[in-house]
Amino acid sequence: MKRLCTIEDFNTLRTELSPPDAGQIPTIVIPASTCSQASGANDLIRIAKRELLGRGLVGRIGLRITGCHGFCQMEPNVLIEPEGVFYPKVTMDNMARIVESVSRGVVLEDLLYCDPGTGKPIAKAMDIPFFAWQVRTILGQNEKVDPTRIGTYIAEGGYKALSDVLAGREADEVIGEIKESGLRGRGGAGFPTGLKWEMFASQPNNRGKFLVCNADEGDPGAYMDRAVLEGNPHSIIEGMLIGAFATGASKGFVYVRNEYPLAIKNFGTALRQARKLGLLGERILGTGFSFDIDIVRGAGAFVCGEETALIRSIEGKMGEPRQRPPFPIEKGIEGKPTAINNVETWANIPVILRKGAGQFRAVGVEGNTGTKIFSLVGKIRNTGLVEVPMGMTIADIVDKIGGGPEDGVPIKAVQTGGPSGGCIPANQFSLPVSFDSLAAAGSIMGSGGMIVMDANTCMVDVAKYFMSFMKDESCGKCFVCRKGTQRMHEILDDISKGQSSLEQLSLLEELAVIARDTSLCGLGQTAPNTVLGTLRYFRDEYIAHIEQRKCPAHVCRQLNTYRIDPDICVLRGHGCGACRRACPEEAISGELKHPHRIDASLCCKCGLCLHACRFNAIIVE
């Protein structure tokens, strides 16, 4: 493609790329993000290409390799356009059949997604409850766009918002539009983006101003930003270009963690293609506006998601937060004004300008407009990325989209906001998802992690896990965060081993409150949230660990007692002795065809016998 020198050039290219008969020929869409590739999407692509070539279908059937569609439980999946037929968990053998069926224009009933409730097959993706209840403004584009081809993005209306802005809108007008849309930062704190831009635009620009896209996503169990970066990098580039136009920024950085190699690769390709087309760099589309973006790879420290630590990391220094004020808006990278927004925030910018602030506001609730992507994981039937309008209740997300509990075990709580967030118990699931309501319930929205926990989850264990994460990821600069997280982990570890007392519990609570109050940055201030949140709603579990020395969910192994049911052992297992052989402490005795027994004084509570017994004769109490 040739460099575009004027806005008219761009409009011509757009009409060329989207011919009126587009979308008429059937297209096989295969997601090939990191998660899809891990479950075998590369094999499907290979077979699809071979079949298309072998059958001479090139030109009659299209093939599009895209980013993640969100339904990770059913990966690798295949989508057939324009009907929108969805095939989950496609195997290599079935891929050839799918290509053949598309050429004949039929649907393979036996490969379709079956409704878990009724057992009936559902053909179209939009009829599957997982997709039907979502509002897929951002993620929906992932299905349409091939991240390695800029043409597909432009054909879908991409860079239109940028060209319109460049053609005749004032910077103030753009900021006004963002303010009117009510967009709040998707990184977690929910600061109004329009306000941030307005403050940033008013900063002096004599030495340069920087825009940063924060893609240092490190929460355990959250991968929304990766999906957007891998699947639709141009939306972020467009968002940042519009942001630079509105605020007068001179240079942009995308801070991605090095653990996202495909995201870095796709984003780099996107930057190259945009530069080649003249959509990035000097004199964009022949106007006087210039802006360029660089990728900065982070070494994977969780703390570098905090903005002042991120700035230091971009400068090439050790990722350590510093005192705010001065805020990065005034003094950021190299002491110059810097505005930092999350990946999802940037991806929302072109959407707002394309659709208009009014239409954006129509989704969501007052004060929390638009959609939010959550990564719904844990003990739930449908795991994956879900994009829902703000203000949807947790119950709707868990039951309607998530399909309710896996294996029929009742859901106990939802953990939102990653290690900085808190738990929301099942009796509060009518709570709408918004920045303010989650904060009032003692959790945070965070960047969008949503971990579902069922009755088999021990809340002390959950708090211990997150505290262990925080203790490793604290930068260690401020004493309270470094030692506080270590000490909280120590006490939680003691509780989970039944070696604690109620005094230790009150010490834990006291320390958690003071660590929250006196830590330097957001990481330390939110690290105690899991402890405080679980103590607020699940104090009885802590008490059971301490007083009865029992773990109600049988997760904390040191508190379990193991015994063998003699009837099951003999009648079903015929005293097979598998448990005896598995036991590392030789605590199990017994002979073939006779009931085995565990010597409690020798038992090290490792739980190996439990896994060794195929007859469920081992009883955990």
């Binding site: 604290s474 004493f479 470094r482 230790q504 006196t518």
Partner: protein, 232 residues
């Protein structure tokens, strides 16, 4: 000039003044461990925490790093501040009980118990030595490495540094390793009064030549006074 209120008193200070400087100017004592005049503020030890009120919201910040801003209300010894400082000192005692400075602060604040598992570490990672080396000696011989539990201070790759002039400045400013209180027992980490003074550096081979370059050598000074003690 910036006008603010510290413990109910109206103050006006120059732009760029920290809350610690302003409070000390007025005579309100604020304890510090990681702050030394002449080195840039770092905010690592959190002992200098004060309570501020901004937009009718109260929160705790470290006075050594927080700049004075217009209309700010500050309290240097509110009950919230005192309880936070006590907990921080308790945490410090739990990890580094042999520092006389920490012991003195703990007794000044009436910390009479230590409820965590006792550790005996030599360093609280306050970073004074790193800043001393970089800002006053212009050597940058030592720095931080690692994060979380694995954070430590040292020369690159733990090799003998070529830029280190063995000036001893790092040891001079150290609040944990300089004056050591080794009297305390494992069962009673809070000593209350320092009976035993011996520099820990004597046991560390790495610093032997560093010690000798100091004049007068701290180790030699102690040896000098030892016979005097005996005579008494």
């Amino acid at each position: 000039m910036i006008n603010l209120k510290i413990n109910g008193l109206n103050v006006s200070v120059e732009k760029g003044t920290t809350l610690l400087e302003a409070s000390r100017f007025l005579g309100f004592p604020i304890p510090t461990l990681c702050h030394v005049d002449g080195l840039s503020p770092y905010g690592a030890c959190r002992v200098c925490t004060v309570e501020i009120m901004e937009n009718s919201k109260s929160r705790l910040v470290t006075s050594c790093t927080y700049p004075a801003t217009e209309g700010l209300q500050v309290r240097t010894a509110s009950s919230r501040v005192i309880s936070a400082r006590k907990m921080i000192l308790e945490l410090l005692l739990a990890s580094c009980p042999q520092s006389k400075k920490i012991q003195d602060l703990a007794s000044a604040y009436g910390v009479r118990r230590q409820r965590f598992r006792q550790e005996y570490e030599d360093c609280i990672l306050c970073g004074l030595c790193v800043r001393m080396c970089e800002e006053q000696m212009m050597a940058k011989a030592i720095g931080f490495r690692g994060r979380g539990e694995g954070r430590s201070i040292g020369t690159p790759y733990d090799r003998k540094s070529e830029v280190c002039r063995t000036c001893g400045g790092c040891m001079y400013v150290c609040p944990a390793c300089q004056l050591r209180c080794t009297f305390n027992q494992a069962e009673n980490p809070i000593c209350g009064a320092c009976e035993n003074l011996s520099p820990p550096c004597l046991e560390k081979d790495n610093y032997d030549d560093m010690m000798c370059s100091m004049s007068p050598c701290l180790a030699c000074e102690i040896k000098q006074y030892e016979p005097l003690k005996g005579e008494k």
